[in-house]
């Protein structure tokens, strides 16, 4: 049997307490908390994959969260086969340790890729969508070292890395978390936008990127590539 090429996607979500801060209501309509908007990401991805009989086989999805520590919330899986009631919700806790998230990715990715290969798949380079609402609580040299370790050319499974910043996140900082620098980019919310709306926009970008990437795959595993989210709505993102 032909080996099927699969694309592993990771969403890594900041669950620091600031993600629970409710933005002011606009025109009398209560805004979502950023963490609630983040919880909708999985649902949007799952529904998009369910809408096509062709994509479920090609996409694998995992969600990690981080605050002072990091954990696997949804282990690498075919989301179309997971019952919605079984999908855990993100819960806020603690601060914002990029180091915890980056180190967990470095440990987890080889395990997941190894498992997919053991199941008979060819595995595309993973893609990580990294969502944060603020600056790291780690010293600069520590998170930079963790990121360098994750994306070092000696790490065979080093992922494409696309940071999304909302609320207090800074463009100049998140630009340092882009990998590869020449082909990927960061998406940072413009000042004054509602963080929840930006996360909803991120979810749409992420879904578009996953679908386009999966559609690029040939069944014989000879073709297929990660397709970066569209950058045509500059009114939301820097």
């Amino acid at each position: 049997m032909t080996e099927m090429l699969v694309l592993p996607f990771y969403v890594v979500a900041d669950v620091s307490y600031s993600m629970t801060m409710k933005p002011p209501a606009v025109d009398g309509v209560a805004a979502l908390r950023p963490i609630d908007a983040a919880n909708e990401i999985v649902k949007k991805v799952k529904i998009a994959l369910e809408n096509s009989p062709l994509l479920g086989d090609k996409v694998r999805f995992a969600m990690l969260d981080f605050s002072d520590d990091a954990q696997v919330v949804i282990p690498m899986c075919d989301l179309t086969k997971v019952d919605p009631s079984q999908i855990p919700q993100l819960q806020a806790r603690g601060g914002t340790s990029y180091v915890a998230a980056l180190q967990l990715l470095k440990r987890q990715i080889p395990i997941d890729v190894g498992q997919l290969k053991a199941d008979g798949h060819k595995v595309h380079r993973p893609a990580v969508f990294f969502l944060t609402d603020g600056e790291p609580t780690d010293p600069d040299h520590e998170w930079k070292a963790s990121f360098a370790d994750l994306t070092d050319s000696s790490f065979k499974e080093r992922p494409n890395f696309i940071p999304f910043g909302v609320a207090e996140a800074k463009k100049e900082l998140l630009d340092q978390l882009v990998y590869p620098q020449q082909r990927m980019r960061s998406f940072v919310q413009r000042t004054g936008e509602d963080p929840s709306a930006a996360i909803t926009s991120m979810a749409e970008k992420l879904v578009g990127s996953i679908i386009a990437s999966a559609n690029s795959i040939q069944s014989d595993g000879m073709g297929g590539t990660f397709i970066l989210p569209d950058d045509d709505d500059g009114d939301v993102w820097l």
Partner: protein, 300 residues
């Protein structure tokens, strides 16, 4: 006759959806004299694919306009053909106007959260298994219905080739189907078609959908021949027509959308049609049966 309109004259519009290359919006007030009462959409190209040739798109639009009404009506039923080229202050064409798709070409689906969606009834759903369809409440067509949909697709490609137009990127995402009120298909994304002898203005964006590449394209790819890979002509249309027929008739075969082996549907086809399918998928390009042959053999 000027079949080019200015974006500024289109009036209010409401976004319906966006894809990789374009944003589609419903025009709430704009009408065309030859299509009274027919709602229109504006497919606006994203900056990343512009400039798009006004001349090239006009060839397609003008071709349709030049047909006698009866023929135009037939083609309009089988194709979501561009009816005007649109320009703005930017370079080249900003997009095209298209008739709004008939609601019968949408399918209602229920997701695992209980949400209900109306999605364009893309041919990909015909390649889904019965279980997949059942889980989402999507009708699973019978073999007879599938046969009728193949007939409609054959007829559409036949009409197109008779009009000397190459479709190009035929795939399960580029045709829609309906089971009522009449079993039929309609082809979409027709702005990337090309009159024979001309270059497609959009065809270079994606010459062949993955898993729909004809053998000669795959061979060109293996020898790093980009131009050979991208070639689209009557022969590649005929190959993809055969592939579509195979995958529509596969019925309840997992991953039917990737299959290329005609034996998969031998039991579903009378011998004369099975031979046509074999020839479509295995004969050298110039010997692939044309749509007219399919049409006549299916009527036997």
């Amino acid at each position: 006759m000027a079949l080019i309109v200015r974006e500024a004259d289109l009036g209010p519009r409401k976004e319906l959806g966006r894809g990789g290359f374009a944003v589609v919006s419903l025009l709430s007030q704009y009408q065309l004299p030859e299509l009274p009462g027919r709602a229109l959409v504006y497919k606006k190209y994203k900056d990343k694919i512009r400039p798009v040739s006004v001349f090239g798109l006009s060839q397609l639009v003008d071709l349709r306009h030049g047909w006698e009404p009866a023929r135009r009506q037939q083609l309009d039923a089988a194709f979501n053909w561009p009816v005007r080229v649109v320009t703005d202050d930017g370079p080249g064409a900003s997009g095209v106007l298209l008739p709004l798709l008939d609601p019968s070409y949408f399918v209602r689906m229920t997701d695992s959260y209980g949400g209900v969606h109306e999605n364009p009834a893309e041919g990909q759903y015909l390649t889904a298994t019965r279980d997949w369809c059942t889980q989402r409440g999507v009708p699973f067509p019978t073999l007879e219905q599938r046969y009728a949909l193949c007939y409609s697709l054959v007829r559409a490609v036949g009409m197109l080739h008779k009009a000397e137009v190459v479709y190009g990127d035929l795939s399960h995402k580029n045709y829609l189907y309906r089971l009522t009120p009449k079993l039929s298909v309609t082809l979409v994304d027709c702005d990337s078609m090309r009159p024979r002898g001309q270059t497609s203005v959009l065809g270079g964006l994606q010459p062949h959908t993955p898993d729909w590449e004809p053998p000669e394209a795959l061979a060109a790819k293996r020898r790093n021949d980009g131009i050979g890979f991208a070639a689209q002509n009557y022969h590649t249309d005929r190959y993809k027509l055969g592939l579509a027929i195979l995958r529509i008739l596969a019925m309840d075969v997992p991953r039917a959308a990737e299959k290329r082996d005609p034996d998969l549907v031998r039991r579903h086809l009378p011998p004369h049609l099975f031979r046509l399918l074999q020839a479509s998928l295995t004969a050298p390009p110039a010997q692939r049966p044309d749509a007219r042959t399919w049409f006549e053999e299916m009527r036997r």
